[in-house]
Amino acid sequence: MSTYFVISIIVYFTCSAFITIYVGKLCFKHGKHYLLEELQDESLSYKINQLLLLGYYLLNLGYVTIMISQWPSISDGYTMIGFVASKIGRIVITLGCMHYVNMLSIYLYKKFNHQKKISNHGNKFSSASV
């Protein structure tokens, strides 16, 4: 194994792990409002948040680690810089896309859930009036 390969693995893994863990902690801290809003129980939402954070770490750190196995051999320093940057960039963009997909699904879930609740209320009122 050439030294370039070792350096690129170290740089890639530390940057990707650092970004994953940092983003995970930020989303944990700022996303707990949304969990609290759906289930008003504070301790339950804290535990669910912890479990989601753990699942997120497992998935993302595992994906980052598995991607190392599919690298070609790296011969010189200049292709190494470009290659490592493009791998880290791919991981970071994947994280960003999943982030937006999560926010979109929370938004859609809230919208359809509240529409269903309102139509249930409407049914109750109409049946009560009959």
């Binding site: 700022h30 008003q40 960003g96 926010m103 509240h114 609740k117 309102i118 209320h121």
Partner: protein
Amino acid sequence: METNLVAHQSSMMLVAYVIYLPISLLLTYYVAKTLFKNGLTFMLDIFHGKTDIAHSTNKLFEVGFYLLNIGFALLILQINDICATEQQMIEILSVKIGGFSIYLGIMLFFNMYLFFRGRKASRTNIKPIFPSDENSIE
């Protein structure tokens, strides 16, 4: 003579990387800071003054913005054309930095579109947002 040319090309590529990476990261940081400092006002308006929810939502959008932009900047870092002379290096750099700035502008307008849509939805929305409001209907 040949090794001199190869060394010159490598040093040109290195200079290009060293110029491109800080410029793109600083540009991302500056645009994100401006957008989400002023976007907090939109969030406060959408959530009707509840500061912690507005701050959390703003932070989540900011995280997504940073992720997509830093990822894109790193993804297009690799120089695939021949970069042997200063002229080629400047041309390659201009394509990369210019393309990245255009992408940043598109992301900026996309986020502003999301802010405006949320503001419009919160103003015309007379349905209760939180389940606790619906319990009071019963």
